[in-house]
């Protein structure tokens, strides 16, 4: 198709022939048209007065928010500690549940492809599909407000994530190593410990710190719905329009997240 002969008999090669090129440009045209149409729809329902007003309001809030109220820090140490605990313990709790689920979901380790695997996959999908803020909302009404609700919300939300990445790692292992261990006369569990676990350990460590890193971020907002941590202070400061406090809280969250990223990068570098 892309090879043709010109009038002098030379073979000409192009990556696409003329029809394919035309089709491609027509596709681009459609995409741009769709984009413009959507833009128009959004623009029609926007109250432009508020948008034109935005820089002034932003500057107003900005000026009220500065400088941060540093002495408020005394009240933030405990909530930020709670937040870190929610993230860390939530991740641990999630891993305890995610590891068995991952082994049941991986097609090469599952005891039954027709019965057990679909159940494991359902657990993965269902826990993943609901945001941790919504889990927290539910759990606050079930087990009451506080750190416990946040912890369980983070744990549940993380099961699917960790189990999914882990079962993909299990499915990608080198089967020859497993075969070699099986050939020694090892039992099923010995094959797991010698043939499979050493192969997935790096992924396991990577997944753990990655999820911990995400959970620090997620746990900072859980307080908004009453599930403990620094979000509680954020929400109450926002409610009373205490902008200098809000600034300080945002700064503290930023520092915590940066620290979390730094630690997880170090750990990942050390293991892999």
């Amino acid at each position: 198709m892309p090879v043709s002969e010109n009038s002098t008999g030379l073979k000409v090669w192009q990556i696409r022939d003329r029809n394919q090129t035309l089709k491609r440009w027509f596709g681009y045209l459609l995409a741009v048209a769709a984009f413009m149409w959507c833009w128009k729809q959004i623009s029609d329902v926007t109250t432009w007065y508020f948008v034109w007003d935005a820089p002034r309001i932003a500057a107003d809030i900005g000026s009220r928010a500065m400088p941060p109220r540093w002495d408020y820090m005394g009240e933030l140490w405990v909530p930020i500690w709670d937040t870190l605990n929610i993230a860390t313990l939530g991740t641990l709790l999630a891993l305890i549940m995610a590891v068995p689920v991952a082994f049941l979901a991986a097609s090469n380790t599952t005891p039954s492809k027709t019965f057990v695997r679909p159940v494991a996959l359902f657990i993965i999908v269902s826990t993943r599909s609901i945001n941790s803020l919504i889990w927290a909302l539910l759990l606050v009404s079930i087990i009451g407000p506080g750190v416990a609700a946040g912890l369980v919300a983070i744990a549940i939300r993380s099961i699917g994530f960790c189990a999914k990445l882990l079962y993909e790692a299990i499915e990608e292992i080198d089967v020859k190593q497993v075969e070699a261990i099986t050939a020694t006369g090892a039992s099923r569990w010995q094959v797991m410990v010698y043939g499979i676990i050493p192969q997935i350990l790096p992924s396991f460590a990577g997944i753990t710190v990655f999820r911990w890193d995400i959970n620090i971020r997620e746990s900072t907002v859980l307080g908004l719905v009453g599930a403990g941590g620094i979000g509680l202070q954020l929400s109450s400061s926002l409610n009373v329009l205490a902008w200098p406090q809000v600034t300080l809280i945002l700064l503290v969250i930023l520092v915590a997240v940066v620290l979390g990223e730094w630690v997880s990068a170090k750990v990942r570098g050390a293991i892999i």
Binding site: D174, K176, Q177, E179, A180, I181, T182, A183, T184, G185, A186, S187, W189, Q190, V193, Y194, G195, P198, Q199, L201, P202
Partner: protein, 259 residues
Amino acid sequence: MLQIEKLTKKYPTGDLALTAVDLEIPEGQVLALIGPSGAGKSTLIRCINRLVEPTSGTVTLKGENITTLGSGGLRAARRKMGMIFQEYALVERLTVMENVLSGRLGYVGFWRSFLRKYPQSDIDEAFRLLDRVGLLHMADKRADELSGGQRQRVGIARALIQDPDLLLVDEPTASLDPKTSRQIMRLICELCKERGLAAIINIHDVALAQMFVQRVVGLKLGKLQFDGSPDQLTPDVLTSIYGEEDWEATIEKVDEEDA
């Protein structure tokens, strides 16, 4: 010592990998299994220790029918069959010592193996074997730090620490350079002699096989095509196994090497 009778393997895809293969191997005989890719060499070896379940036929090791064993019996039987793999199949992230000791998994309980608390006799044997294959100084290295030849030596030690009656060897030299290939083949054959082990060695390199083994079996499309001594491998025989090709160079090379 090992009898294979009417061994047939049909894969779920319908491919007939082995068709009624009969083979008998006496005590202490080292046998090379040659044949083109896809002839069923690997399948045959794996049907013996049932890493691949045979469709029909029997495998008898020292009077015990392996094909009818339950899972516990099969594990006990597998301990007596050491396996050496193409590309070594070491557990890459474990140390050399752990890899060698993993050959004892059939003999120790789960918690002992999990905690790496092997009996001292196993550890002594592991050191003895590592010394024999020339890797005593590497015991603490991780398997993925080793070169190809060294890894295969670890693979040999892992198979031998099982205290097997039979070695199943699957393309031991396929990813090694010519010199290392010979060293590995020599090592395997020497160890078999020392311990009076029988071995089935799958091998692509006909010349290499001729140098080291007492008996050659040719497999073609899942059927036994040739069974004889290495010097019976004439160009005609090779043509019957592999198809038309100029075989003079292959065989001549062996003659020179022997001289």
